[in-house]
Point group: C2
Chain length 126, copies 2
DNA sequence: CAGAATCCGTTTAGATACTG
DNA sequence: CAGTATCTAAACGGATTCTG
């Protein structure tokens, strides 16, 4: 039996930088958008295809959030016909690796997750 | 310039197992709770200390969610004085590594994130 | 094409008080 | 100690409509 350290008195404070991650990527679309930009810049309408459940509003909102965090850049071409391109910044790219790790984990374990979910019964008294 | 693959027609569908991750851990407390259980079982009240911004309701809700996913186990001792203990299941433990990766990323880059956040200005017209 | 604006229902979170 | 119950405020998400 190992000696257990007491828990820090305010983990929320202490892990703020990391709890910022779920804060920023925990929303419904951010992670998916990042993955859409994995192999090159994409245009607004191009992003809507694989995420066809997203409304333009939410996509804009998501993109703005990612821009604000410095993860995605937006380039409006002089020629409007060329559209607007979104791309990962180097910072955004650096997030890919840990994100893949999480995705791999999920891919490996999602059956277990599902099983657990179905096997679960609310609560047996006593 | 590399050849860009067309994006899959429904990434939401395709990444469902992985988008399940933000779904399940994207909430405000799950990740933090998991980290609180890193080095051993903890009791309900013990968990409230480092997460003192959490209300009992939210903590219960979070723990139930993690239980339902098979990531956390709950043990009510026969002797009520011993309280109720929550612990990571093996599945829960297996999540630690990818989670650390993400935390490390955040720890490394949160200054950049903050800077980007402050430097950001809503949108320059034209 | 790339959004912005508005409306509105749903979900989520927090405060507070109470219980076995 | 380990929650539950209730209520309210705020955030989120989607549908729809409109514009440079």
């Amino acid at each position: 039996m190992t000696v257990r350290q007491p828990l820090p008195s305010d983990l929320f404070e202490e892990l703020c930088p990391s709890s910022m991650v779920p804060f920023r990527f925990g929303d419904k679309w951010s992670a998916l958008v990042i993955r859409c930009l994995e192999d090159g810049p994409r245009r607004f309408s191009e992003l809507r295809v694989p995420l066809h459940r997203v409304t333009p509003k939410m996509l804009t909102q998501t993109l703005r959030g990612l821009e604000r965090s410095g993860l995605v850049s937006r380039t409006a071409h002089a020629d409007p016909a060329l559209g607007v391109e979104y791309a990962l910044t180097p910072l955004g790219r650096s997030l890919l690796k840990p994100m893949w790790a999480l995705c791999d984990w999920a891919a490996e374990h999602w059956e277990e997750l599902l099983e657990a979910h179905e096997a679960y019964e609310p609560r047996r008294l006593a």
